[in-house]
Symmetry: C2
Subunit: 232 residues, 2 copies
């Protein structure tokens, strides 16, 4: 009988924002798999769970980069799967750790696509970054009749106009490199005062920029998100 | 010095889906405030945290109903605030517990609006129900470039058409009473096979209806959500 692969959402950064369910799994499994992306040298998920890991846990580092060349990406993921399958086929349970929630723009979804179908898998939810960001700022993300739209990436400002027309609250992930363009658009729409950015939510280096009127230009890290409120 | 009011997200149902941060606050505060809505006799949030509460914790039950009459609602909330402020003014910390996440369609947002401004407040995030539902079903809620739209309520099927035009993944909260109409619309759009409903996510009575082609009619509880995927 193969072991079970757990996709464990570890919350966005603060080790205490992991669930008891996730914590129990990390105490129990002999192997923890951590993703190594191209964006960072050390896995963020690995840093989040570091305080909770028993010293005997085996760490399996998986390179899960997305390359421009689809074939290279495929090769890279197949290699990671080959590594992951070894302990699972030996009957050992493995926890694959994800930042935030395991079903919210997580690599675990992609990983399970490549996983041989006879390997049982379980998804363990976690706190996702927009919820943690709103909590850090100290206001509701959404309330009552407000619609919420999450845009994982932005290719054109038209998308932002459409998004704000279709939802009272819009969350932009990975917006750091377009910040200045977005700021100008928000200024034209008179939406700066009710919008905010949280950088590194839950981490010691967390920074909050609330009421964006004062910040026409920000040099933000990749791990930043913006919340735009068009209802007041 | 007044005490701090914590808005504690307790996850959608499973007591183990509470964070360590939330758990620590519940261990420490002398008073826990639980909402009593008009939808249920006993507070769901109170049931979620029940296994974690020290026997000495004082429970403060607050009636936080929404009435059709705005003045009655206002009166009801002002009365709850008056109860809540007593221990806070005595310098005691109070945890107000919320199902799911404290910033995601939670009563805590409304409560803080009425709270006297000199009372410090902190938001503690939790696992929100759409993430827990996707985990229960065992698939990504959203991945890669997919946009996510959450509709907290539905007044007309046109809204659903707009929603599905603007996002690859649409989450409908509180859709139980319109299920049959939604089902017929999804059938016409050929979206039944990739849509699912989770009722009572995280609770012992949780039920999953995946691939909705088999369920033209369902008598669902109020605590149900639907995920519609228009990308495959």
């Amino acid at each position: 009988m193969p072991g079970t692969l757990y996709g464990v959402g570890c919350g966005p950064g603060d080790p205490e924002q992991i669930t008891i369910q996730a914590w129990k799994i990390l105490q129990r499994v002999p192997v923890v798999a951590v993703p190594q992306g191209s964006q960072s040298d050390t896995s963020l998920a690995a840093q989040i769970i570091q305080p909770w890991l028993p010293p005997t846990t085996q760490i399996l580092r998986l390179e899960l980069a997305f390359r421009l060349d689809a074939q290279l990406t495929e090769q890279c993921w197949q290699q990671a799967i080959a590594q992951l399958v070894v302990p699972l086929q030996q009957g050992l349970d493995v926890a694959f750790v994800c930042e935030g929630d395991s079903s919210f723009y997580s690599t675990f979804g992609m990983l399970t696509r490549y996983l041989p179908s006879d390997i049982p898998r379980r998804w363990i939810p976690g706190v996702c970054s927009p919820c943690a960001a709103a909590a850090a700022v100290g206001m509701p993300l959404v309330q009552q009749q407000e619609r919420l739209l999450v845009l994982p990436a932005l290719y054109h400002l038209n998308q932002l106009a459409e998004a704000c027309a279709g939802a009272e609250v819009v969350v932009l992930l990975k917006m750091a490199r377009y910040y200045r363009d977005i700021w100008q658009w928000l200024q034209a729409q008179d939406l700066l005062a009710t919008s905010y950015v949280v950088e590194w939510v839950g981490w010691p280096q967390q920074r909050i920029y609330a009421d964006l009127r004062a910040y026409p230009d920000l040099c933000l890290s990749y791990f930043s998100l913006m919340v735009i409120r068009s209802s007041r």
